[in-house]
């Protein structure tokens, strides 16, 4: 591949990010001007200053996605092991596909009544539980190909060497699965981070994640704030991608 083609491809990939960054520091962009007519860091100052609640949205999104990814990765790793060695493995695994038969919003609409009943409607906890309905089965499907006879033998070996199940997990299974766990955590973080339908329906606007904010600004035709929120939305996954790449390839 020639250097020019390579540079063009890199340029194509980076263009949307550069464009969003430009919009986030722009003000007034009347047609047919090529660039915004004013440049200002005022929008970014709002994030640090706390007005518009953007810093609050960043905190909510980070906390929500980290909790959802950590909970789903941990539980799906454990549950998928039991499913993998169960005589009716296929039947259990097919149940993990059920949430994907419906669209997330339809699933949320079906569950809405129960969330109201449990007092979870419009709360952070409610959105967290709702997202688990999507991320947990995804984790189970992700790990279903991880377990095999060799790992099972390794686990049994730990037992004959005197270890209990907890020690088998802590000393062998989790260290061996480090790369897979990091990849699963990353993917589930992304699913949660960009989730809109469930979050909007169960959160009813009271849990303003960054994704909700972006849609809100777009609906208001607030171009510059939507770009700013999008920049904030993109940064943490990029950071996590870099960390994940280091962990996976080191493993």
């Amino acid at each position: 591949m020639s250097r020019t083609v390579k540079a063009m491809l890199v340029g194509l990939i980076l263009f949307p990010f550069a464009f969003l960054l430009m919009l986030s520091v722009g003000r007034q962009w009347p047609y047919p001007a090529l660039f915004p007519q004013q440049w200002s860091l005022a929008n970014w100052a709002m994030v640090w200053g706390g007005s518009e609640g953007l810093s609050n949205s960043v905190a909510i999104s980070v906390l929500l996605s980290t909790s959802v990814a950590a909970l789903s990765t941990g539980t799906s790793f454990w549950v998928s092991r039991h499913i993998a060695y169960h005589p009716k493995r296929e039947a259990w695994l097919s149940m993990a596909y059920l949430p994907y038969v419906f669209a997330p919003v339809i699933l949320a609409a079906c569950l809405q009544f129960f969330f109201i009943l449990a007092g979870l409607y419009g709360t952070f906890g409610g959105v967290l539980v709702a997202q688990l309905f999507i991320t947990f089965p995804y984790g189970v499907i992700f790990f279903s190909s991880f377990w095999n006879e060799r790992l099972r033998n390794m686990e049994q070996l730990v037992k004959t060497l005197g270890g209990n199940s907890r020690q088998a997990y802590a000393k062998v299974l989790i260290p061996v699965a480090r790369g897979a766990l990091a990849t699963c955590f990353f993917q589930l973080f992304l699913i949660s981070w960009f989730e809109y339908g469930l979050t909007n329906l169960i959160g009813v606007g009271k849990v303003p994640t960054l994704t909700i904010r972006v849609f809100q600004y777009v609906n208001e035709a607030n171009l510059f704030l939507a770009a700013l929120a999008s920049c904030l939305l993109v940064f943490p996954p990029l950071l996590l991608l870099w960390v994940n790449r280091r962990v996976v390839f080191k493993g």
Binding site: N153, M154, Q156, T160, L161, K171, V172, R178
Partner: protein, 242 residues
């Protein structure tokens, strides 16, 4: 030392083990010969506590251990594959059982280095499993089992994946180690010569039934073991040369 009484197991409608009753004495190695699917592995797993028998008892040093979980039996099961823990180096693989028992660091070092020396692996202590040859991996697997001084060692075709030269070396090494450490062991193989070399006594497993021979002559004389057939083959070959 280790005794079984009427062990039976049915798996997916097939009788895998059928009324097995036998006894192994202390410091004795019993080799069991059998084809694939004869029930050898299932028998070892029942003894190790990794599978449950439908009927029968497993008695170790006079104590009924039929319902005792695998991690409290003191019986180590070794697979054909060395199954070294890929995230640990050779030293830590061997030290694994001692670390589970929270032994002091000085005890761990003394025991592990002594075993590394005996298994001719002192130079490999800091290497990772993928840097070892097949024979070296199997030695580390022995070390990992021996370091905890198991009451019984179960070996399920441990040299099955090795080339013939390494296999011969490993057989010699295991015989020596078994003598030095006074091991009580069951050695399962489908290789006739290996069964005769390794066992103080020999057994033949067929369709879930185990026949144990107290004398080597009885094992040779029984047509079912295939020793006579094998010997005849070599005699015929010798005759052809003449």
């Amino acid at each position: 030392m280790l005794q079984t009484k009427n062990i039976s197991k049915v798996f997916q409608g097939e009788q895998v083990l059928e009324g097995l009753s036998f006894r192994i004495n202390e410091h004795e190695m019993l080799s069991i010969l059998g084809r694939s699917g004869s029930g050898k592995t299932t028998l070892l797993k029942v003894l190790a506590g990794l599978e449950t028998a439908d009927r029968g008892q497993v008695i170790l040093e006079g104590q009924d251990i039929t319902t005792v979980p695998a991690n409290r039996r003191g019986i180590v099961y070794l697979y054909q594959e060395a199954l070294l823990f890929p995230h640990l180096n050779v030293f830590e693989n061997i030290a694994f059982g001692l670390r589970l028992r929270k032994q002091p660091e000085s005890v761990i070092k003394d025991n592990v280095y002594a075993l590394l020396e005996r298994l001719e692996l002192p130079e490999q202590a800091q290497k990772m499993p993928e840097q070892l040859s097949g024979g070296q991996r199997q030695r580390v697997a022995f070390g990992r089992a021996l370091v905890i001084e198991p009451r019984v060692l179960l070996l399920d075709e441990p040299f099955g994946a090795l080339d013939s030269e390494t296999r011969t070396n490993m057989q010699d090494l295991l015989k020596g180690v078994a003598k030095d450490y006074g091991l009580t062991a069951i050695f399962v193989t489908h290789d006739l010569k290996e069964a005769m070399l390794m066992g103080d006594r020999m057994g033949m497993m067929q369709k879930g039934k185990l026949n144990i021979y107290d004398k080597q002559a009885d094992f040779i004389a029984d047509k079912a073991t295939g020793v006579l057939e094998e010997a005849q083959f070599w005699i015929n070959l010798q005759d052809l040369k003449k």
